[in-house]
């Protein structure tokens, strides 16, 4: 975690990821009257995951704007509103529905600054939950950040903790460019330490963070898998293996130096992600580590990812489709055989 000074530590309290996001929006809406929130069911229903609950009552239904079911125009209108001088936060019910808005994300938001020679930029946040594990089936459980991170012109972030969720959402709202803010549907109820409401802090959109220090292997990961890696690292520590958990948290731009510094210390790396293996975020990260950090490595980089099928519904087989603690431990043992014997 980011180190806070003594004063700040005294005013920490434990809140959920959901509450952290809500606080970020509330604080930014109070701070800047140009900030608006737009999306489906965000008013009376409080958003699909209750993140926006209470905002309409507090800031009015002009600034917290329920829309028809129309993802393409939610994002397109948010782009236009940003061009016209507002700072919209668009909420998509899930990342799966972002496919319906992908033309506006990829062809408009990402491109206009470059295409038009800097005449305009798009200060816009698009929030969306991603990920599986809640038995929502194949079409509602996807993690598609790599599709967007592939495109020049958009920033893509995936916070794992309430502290990061709040600090990064505040940064995203203040950012002058389009930020895809990808939450995880299983993290909304997760609690963590966050400074009191109104205590100002932000987390930058281009820095990862070491969530646990270790000397033996770097677990390169992000979003919910940070927590699974931390669990695995606890277990590994019992057998004397000290795994370093590197939370990349910013997918693009990526804090490559953080990962390179970590593997320079540990000389071993395992990339852990929830999404599919092929042509995805994890492979991209591994490729960059090979390209720029090959000399640091004593063994090939391992890679654990979601099983290469559409996410199944039944709890039993759904659970088997995502990486778990034991898989990570087994993979670490394969990369560090000599350490197991120690």
């Amino acid at each position: 975690m980011a180190r806070l000074n003594e004063d700040e530590q005294q005013i920490m309290r434990s809140i959920t990821y959901r509450e952290a996001l809500r606080e970020a929006m509330r604080e930014e809406m109070s701070r800047d009257s140009r900030v608006i929130v737009i999306g489906e069911d965000i008013d009376a229903y409080g958003g699909t995951y209750a993140v926006t609950k209470g905002l309409a009552e507090e800031f009015g239904r002009e600034r917290v704007r329920d829309t028809p079911l129309a993802e393409e125009v939610i994002v397109g209108a948010a782009v236009g509103a940003a061009m016209a001088g507002l700072r919209p936060v668009a909420e998509l019910m899930t990342m799966n529905f972002s496919l319906l808005a992908s033309d506006q994300i990829v062809n408009t938001a990402a491109k206009v600054r470059y295409m038009f020679g800097g005449q305009t930029h798009v200060p816009l946040v698009i929030r969306m939950p991603a990920g599986g594990g809640a038995q929502r089936g194949a079409q509602h459980s996807q993690t598609l950040e790599s599709w967007y991170a592939h495109v020049p012109g958009i920033k893509v972030v995936m916070p794992a903790t309430p502290y990061d969720a709040k600090g990064m959402l505040k940064s995203a709202i203040r950012d002058e460019d389009t930020v895809l803010f990808i939450e995880h549907e299983l993290l909304y109820g997760v609690k963590g330490d966050v400074p009191d409401e109104g205590v100002e802090y932000t987390v930058p959109l281009n820095r990862g963070e070491i969530k646990r220090e270790g000397r033996d292997i770097s677990l390169i990961t992000f979003s919910r898998m940070v927590h699974i890696c931390l669990q695995a690292a606890e277990e590994l520590a019992k057998e004397g293996i000290e795994a370093e958990v590197v939370d990349m948290r910013c997918i693009r731009p990526i804090d490559l130096d953080l990962a390179l510094d970590s593997i320079a210390k540990t000389n071993h790396a395992l990339v852990v992600e929830e999404g599919w293996k092929y042509y995805g975020t994890g492979q991209g990260m591994a490729a960059m580590l090979y390209e720029y950090g090959f000399d640091s490595l004593d063994a090939p980089i391992g890679h654990i990812a979601g099983v290469d099928v559409p996410t199944p519904y039944s709890k039993h087989i759904e659970r088997a489709a995502f990486p778990n603690r034991d898989e990570i431990i087994t993979a670490v043992h394969k990369i560090l055989p000599q350490r197991v014997a120690r």
Binding site: E62, V73, G76, L86, Q119, P152
Partner: protein, 348 residues
């Protein structure tokens, strides 16, 4: 044709813009055929009255979202032939530095032209957003968006009209109905009598106008703008027009020669010329003066553009993102105007 529905000074301005648009278009088509300078230019020949007339009806603070054949609208909005030609020739020292703009240019600070998209139909959701921005900033601006008849079948247009209607946004959509979506004639994708009939489904006003009668286009657009500005929500205008190349052999084979001949007789520039001549606002000598002035302007624009350097390769990814000192996005705020509905009090 008309009584004098617009002051003579307006009629002459319209004549100037129609002539400028026509001559610029013809010149660009010639350059494109020569193949030396230009990779792409979407001619709007024959449709100038719609492009010029609707944009002419706008107030200076209104926002324009043009489509790809709307050079006339951009000229009315203050884009200069120098800017446009240099842009099409892919030169440096223009706003986009050659990175794009073969179809579109944008300016959200001064002339309020939405930097739009080449994806058919995708500009309308963005125009909904600029209208939403105006509303939340309590500004009396209306956004006017052009779309082709081909794009009315695109899902984004349906979503945009649904949202604009649901939120009562000040948005005027002008469908430039030129009879063909690519090679598909309208009757093969729509069984509706008029494309403007779609307005009924959104619960908004719709109107059909002779898109080759520039005065009628100005008047229909003014009525729509007034309605939108008064807080009565979006408005759909269907302007009937046709794309008529300078020479018949330039028209694709799938377009019937009878239709071409019909629409050539409806040429918007010739119709306005006849009208102004009949009113004795324009005579042959004055017409020649206009043409000479415009030809000089275009000679200058071409010479200026050819003298500009070609852009250097631009591979710096930071060009995609705003610099730290980027000015706030959006036009300067304008005062609260005629919009009547209850509004929030957002300030920039």
């Amino acid at each position: 044709m008309h009584d004098l529905e617009l002051p003579a000074s307006d009629l002459l301005r319209l004549f100037y813009f129609l002539t400028l648009t026509r001559h610029l278009d013809d010149r660009m088509v010639r350059l494109r055929r020569e193949g030396t300078f230009i990779s792409n230019f979407a001619s709007g020949r024959g449709q100038e009255a719609t492009a010029v007339g609707a944009a002419y009806a706008l107030e200076p603070g209104d926002i324009l979202a043009p489509s790809h054949r709307d050079v006339g609208a951009m000229l009315v909005r203050g884009m200069t032939p120098r800017e446009l030609v240099a842009q099409w020739l892919g030169r440096d020292s223009v706003a986009t530095h050659g990175r794009d703009g073969h179809l579109f240019q944008g300016d959200m600070r001064d002339r309020l032209i939405v930097p739009t998209t080449g994806i058919p139909g995708s500009a309308l959701p963005v125009a909904v957003g600029t209208a939403l921005g105006s509303r939340l900033r309590s500004e009396p601006r209306v956004t006017l968006a052009y779309l082709g008849d081909g794009t009315v079948t695109v899902g984004a247009v349906h979503e945009a009209l649904t949202m604009a209607s649901a939120l009562d946004l000040a948005l005027v959509c002008v469908i430039e109905h030129n009879g063909y979506a690519g090679s598909m004639p309208t009757e093969r994708h729509s069984h509706a009598r008029h494309l403007a009939d779609r307005a009924m489904g959104y619960g908004i006003p719709g109107a059909v106008v002779d898109g080759n009668d520039v005065v009628a286009v100005v008047q229909a657009t003014r009525q729509a703008l007034q309605s939108a500005r008064a807080g009565r929500g979006p408005y759909l205008i269907e302007a009937l027009t046709f794309h008529v190349p300078a020479e018949e052999e330039q028209a694709p084979d799938f377009i019937s020669r009878e239709a071409l001949a019909f629409w050539r007789r409806q040429d918007p520039l010739e119709r306005l010329t006849r009208y102004l001549t009949s009113l004795e606002i324009l005579d042959v000598a004055r017409q020649k003066d206009y043409v000479a002035e415009i030809e000089d302007l275009l000679d200058d624009a071409l010479a200026y553009s050819l003298a500009l350097p070609l852009p250097a390769p631009l591979s710096d990814p930071s060009l995609c993102f705003a610099p730290d000192d980027a000015p706030p996005m959006g036009p300067p705020l304008i005062a609260i105007g005629a919009l009547t509905r209850e509004r929030s009090t957002i300030q920039a």
